[in-house]
């Protein structure tokens, strides 16, 4: 029971990270109907920027954790936002096709960065059993809270703000949106930028959570987030969260009860099974509002 609860906590944390990345995939897809294949790389860039920032701040002697976290988040968000904007500008707008930056990033994979000192230490006991104590670290709590807050924020942004309305208008009828005065190119750019910002947050969180970032971890997490977006129904925001959560949980429980080697195989197998029975993903029926 305690062991189960511990896996639940770990799974939810992982799921939150996947969900964060997945929202970026799903939002861009929902609005322009194209998979942003650069998203996985954008998130990796967020993670690398985070590592560099942590190191720089450490050298500068800034050690107050909340301040460090905020600075790192802001810097990664700004830089990846710029990068996301550039990708849309130079790759998507003229080509309107998929574009991969993986080769560029894989060139950087030699740059495996050495483990960071754990930044956010400590945690608390959730439950003490006879043989096993269930712990949740503060970091896990931060990750989950952050994801929930961003999820709520983005849901609100898309449902109730002028930008969100313009985004949905672009998704439903781009020509009509422009006839009404929506600057559709800018709306699409902003969608990429928002996706990149989410990816940056996820990148920072992964860096903190694993304490190390290399190409393999990042690539795999990006791939799983993409899986999560498809599993939940690409184009659906709640679907991305649900997909992320499911994949996080499957991974945690599979590693705990079966074999850690095959956890990734399990994740992708579930995707295949779901898509056989529900080709549009769990929440992605044509009736469900995209984005």
């Amino acid at each position: 029971m305690e062991y189960f609860l511990q896996q639940l906590i770990n799974g939810v944390t992982l799921g939150a990270i996947y969900g964060l990345i997945a929202i970026g995939y799903t939002m861009v897809y929902g609005i322009i109907g194209m998979i942003n294949f650069a998203h996985g790389e954008i998130y990796m860039i967020g993670a690398f920027i985070a590592v560099i920032c942590f190191a720089l701040l450490g050298m500068l002697g800034i050690t107050w954790i909340p301040l460090v976290l905020i600075i790192v988040l802001l810097v990664s968000m700004c830089l990846t936002a710029l990068y996301g904007w550039t990708v849309e500008r130079i790759a998507y707008r003229p080509l309107r096709g998929s574009f991969r930056l993986a080769p560029l990033i894989s060139a950087a994979q030699g740059a495996k960065i050495k483990p960071l000192q754990p930044m956010v230490r400590g945690g608390f006991e959730v439950m003490r059993g006879e043989t096993f104590t269930v712990n949740a670290s503060y970091l896990q709590v931060i990750i989950v809270l952050m994801t929930v807050a961003l999820m709520a924020g983005f849901t609100w942004l898309i449902a109730a703000t002028p930008l969100g309305r313009a985004q949905r208008a672009c998704e439903q009828d781009r020509v009509m949106a422009s006839l009404l005065g929506v600057h559709t190119d800018r709306t699409i750019s902003l969608t990429f930028v928002l996706g990149a910002i989410l990816a940056a947050v996820a990148g920072v969180m992964v860096t903190l959570y694993y304490g190390v970032v290399d190409f393999y971890i990042g690539f795999l997490a990006g791939l799983k987030a993409f899986t999560a977006a498809v599993l939940g129904g690409i184009g659906s925001l709640p679907g991305a969260m649900l997909g992320g959560l499911l994949i996080g949980l499957i991974e945690a429980f599979w590693s705990a009860y079966f074999s850690i080697e095959y956890k990734d195989v399990a994740v992708f197998a579930i995707l295949v099974i779901v898509l056989i029975f529900r080709p549009t993903g769990l929440l992605g029926s044509p009736d469900v509002e995209k984005v």
Binding site: Q172, M176, L179, L180, G181, V182
Partner: protein, 238 residues
């Protein structure tokens, strides 16, 4: 107010407009009639910059607007309720109207909303219903209302009567007349329903195969034998 000179538009190799000249004066209702495929919708879309004309000039308030991005034209006072209504299907009536007001001063929104609800009380009853679930007539009302939310000086209307019951057609035409008379909105009206359109319009143009074949006052065109046989008695087209 709106002057079109020698406009030619192509879709790839298709030569859709072959040199169109047309004028709409301030406060006028001008009808544009023509058979299917004559290029009526193409002309309205060309005015809005999508597609762009290959040759010719389009003057709005004396400025050549060719090349100005579509989304900026509505800020100059040009609104378009295009062919097929193009209601955002997964948004409520009010959200559709909010999008109509994207280019307008937000301070006007609630008074403008009341104004279009006054014109179309049906829309007020359905304010939270999704656009995609409205009836055809309601969608047409919404398309016009949405265009009015930008407070246009010139309104382009593409076949507002298409597929509607005679009673609804009458209502729609009455409202077009009202916004023209009461609010002074200039209207360029594309119609298959030539009889109604020419009766309502001050002037009319007949477009045949991407070229203006005839022009005159609404009365003259209604009385013209050729027009009667081509567009009125036989119903639509030729």
């Amino acid at each position: 107010m709106l002057v079109i000179e020698g406009v030619q538009t192509f879709y790839g190799a298709v030569h859709a407009l072959k040199g169109v000249d047309l004028k709409v004066g301030t406060g006028e209702i001008v009808a544009l009639i023509g058979a299917n495929g004559a290029g009526k919708s193409t002309l309205l879309m060309t005015i809005c910059g999508n597609p762009k004309p290959r040759y010719g000039r389009i003057l709005f308030d004396g400025d050549d607007i060719v090349g100005i991005p579509t989304h900026l034209l509505v800020r100059r006072g040009l609104a378009h309720a295009p062919e097929g209504r193009r209601i955002f299907p997964r948004m409520s009536v009010v959200e559709n109207l909010r999008l109509g007001a994207v280019a307008a001063d937000p301070a006007h929104f609630s008074s403008d909303l009341e104004r279009v609800f006054g014109l179309f009380p049906r829309l007020k009853e359905r304010r939270d219903q999704r656009g995609g679930t409205l009836s055809g007539g309601e969608q047409q009302m919404l398309a016009i209302a949405r265009a009015l939310m930008s407070r246009p000086r010139v309104l382009l209307l593409d076949e507002p009567s298409l597929g509607l019951a005679p009673l609804v057609v009458k209502q729609i035409f009455a409202i077009i007349e009202e916004i023209n008379k009461r609010d002074g909105v200039t209207v360029l009206l594309v119609e298959q329903n030539a009889f109604h359109a020419l009766r309502l319009a001050h002037r009319g143009y007949v477009l045949v195969n991407g070229q203006i074949a005839m022009t005159g006052t609404g009365q003259d065109l209604l009385a013209n034998e050729q027009i009667r046989s081509a567009y009125l008695e036989g119903g639509h087209g030729r």
